[in-house]
Amino acid sequence: MEFIYFDHISGTPLHPLVKEAMIKYIEENGFGNPSSQHRLGDAAIETLNNARENVAKLINAKPEEIVFTSGGTESINHAIKGVAFARAKKGKHIITSNIEHQSVSRTLRMLMRMGYQVTTMPVDSYGVVDPSDVEKAIRDDTILITIMHANNEIGTIEPIEEIGKIARQRNIIFHTDAVASCGNIPIDVNELNVDLLSLSANQFYGPPGVGALYIREKTPIFPLIDGGTQENNQRAGTQNILGIVGMGKAASLAKAEMPERTEHLLKLKRYFLDKLGTIDDIIVNGHPEKSLPGLVSFSVEYVEGESMMIMLDEKGICVSTRSACASGSLRASHVLIAIGRDYATAQGTLLFSFGIFNTIEQIDKAFVVLEETIKFLRNISPLYKKK
């Protein structure tokens, strides 16, 4: 069945050139261990270094500051636990926000069980953290601040640069979860003033199951996985080279094509938002400007999100209701509650995330189905006052 994919925040399709690079690698080498001392090892090392350079360029880092991981969640676990353990003697206080992804909030909850203390920053109605709140929350024993770059449910981009400045002045390590943003908007780790930054290949048309952690030189951090000396002693275990080849290619494409991609995504987003404005009682979530270019979160009053999502899927339109990692939860999204939506409204939320291969025609098609779906479900709803 032909379908329309508007769920890029859950994972992007493989770019054809990324696929080509991965197939080429399988055919030409495919199994060499980069830690081997013979020719196959040398070839693998070269491949690895090329990819590392491309990923470093994407965020204006040095290649030796890039550690390849199994994806965004591992990178985040590594950053948070790695600093918490390395700095445990200095203090056990960590600052975060109340709209973080589960890989941050649940990692912190685990640390709390081990005696760490966590202060959680609120956000405003757009989902923005106030840097002065962060400054006020800093204590003598604060060792780490972890605030996401762009929110994966509402798209809002946080003032990372300013928070980073504060962290630097106070000599506190600063991590940002840039999984949703990296490869989709320009990132410069020096402008952002971050020490650690997590990213995932599958958010910018690379393969799933591979990511990276940026670790600024001299940052005190322990590895998450112990063993061999791979990845500059920060991540033991033979690298997932095939995935890394894909990630490197995806990073170089993202860097080269970013202005065109952003322009295209913004065009799709604006077009969709204009159409959405014609339906009654819809609330668009997130910041109107400081937001990811391809993502639209909106709450449809009087109906529930999952029923809309399934009905759209029936007609071949793939969207989501919330973070894919939280889809097992039946409660309203913590992000939507944090920005002040009431429970019924939060439950009626859909997430449309467009990608570089989507078209205006696809939006036209999907919108007709969306309108029908909302009308159909509102007609069933006890909350909808029939007009």
Partner: protein, 171 residues
Amino acid sequence: MQYSDIVMEHFRSPKNVGRIENPDGIGEVGNPVCGDMMTITIKVKDERIEDIKFETFGCGAAIAVSSMVTEMAKGKTLEEALKITNKSVAEQLGGLPKNKLHCSNLGADALHKAIMDYYAKKEGKGKEPKKFEKEEYIGEREGKCHCPYCDTELPESAHYCKKCGKPISIK
């Protein structure tokens, strides 16, 4: 999504949608915190459910359950309708995913509540409504959240079910 074909059919084209004007009984259950709300209205003639309609705010399973429970109750005597349980609704639907079983509770609850409302209205104020065995009448769950896996009642703030340990909210 692991919904059965029957669930999808009832979700796609639900039966008995709407609200009966001047109903003989009305049953409202659920709350938006848990994600589902259901209203069932009935018309009763000679102690038999002559007409029944529903309105539901909820997931695909909740809508399918509402449609199925109204189909099952239509034309039945009140005594027979009270014997419809959440389990029989789920069975008729060809099963529900584990974390959606609570939706079937909602359906039977709303139906039983509508019938109880009918009895209460009929017997008038001051009189005790007809008593039922606990298994038959389970309409007391309104406004409370239950574990979707084992149906234990939960406080609103719970992240985990205290009985079966399954996560309720991911935050």
